[in-house]
């Protein structure tokens, strides 16, 4: 693993994004947000199954 330390601020930002991404996807599933909006936020759907 890269030994370069990453700031707490950046980890916090990355973790917060997990939560906000989830809420945006939930909003999409309920028909309140478009796929285009998710894409603009950098949320990428996958088909791993």
């Amino acid at each position: 693993m890269n030994k370069k330390p990453i700031s707490k601020k950046n980890i916090l930002k990355a973790v917060a994004k997990i939560a906000t991404d989830k809420e945006m996807v939930r909003s999409y599933v309920k028909g309140k947000t478009s796929l285009k909006t998710l894409a603009q936020k950098g949320i990428k759907f996958a088909k791993p199954v």
Partner: protein
Amino acid sequence: MQNRYNYFFDNSTSTYTFATKNGFLYRVVFIIDETFSTISGEEIPYVFQIVIDKTTDELEPYDAKVSKTIEAIVERFFCKVENSLIYVCSGDNTKAKQRHQIFDRWYKKSEYQDIVMKIDNIITIATNNKNIQKLYTSFMFHKNNPVYEKLMTIYGRIEEVLSKDI
């Protein structure tokens, strides 16, 4: 009789979808997660976040087939041993904790718990308006994942770094 519902990948919504006997539609979404890459500073592929929800807010009577269907999807996900999964419960702390516990219960009752490992971390973060929010997180990976030690180290580092100065 099958103990779960049939699901399919709906190309129009890019979700795995199934309908229940009560007429509820569930969507299971996998989104590419780049958190591990961000934290480690190197490309960590095959990490996904799973989001599961109904298309309506209406409450559904308990239906055991729902968890079995989700279990089937997750089991198939781990057919590729390199795949790993993040599940997050956030928002209202009581509900988040309950959802986290339900997910844990599904895992412990699943047929894949012997080959899929699950680690939990409750992460405390301050939001933009300085409120403290708890994220109930779970990280799952196949025991034969060739980089599982690296993944565990990165996941553990999240809580370790964020727990300082809180």
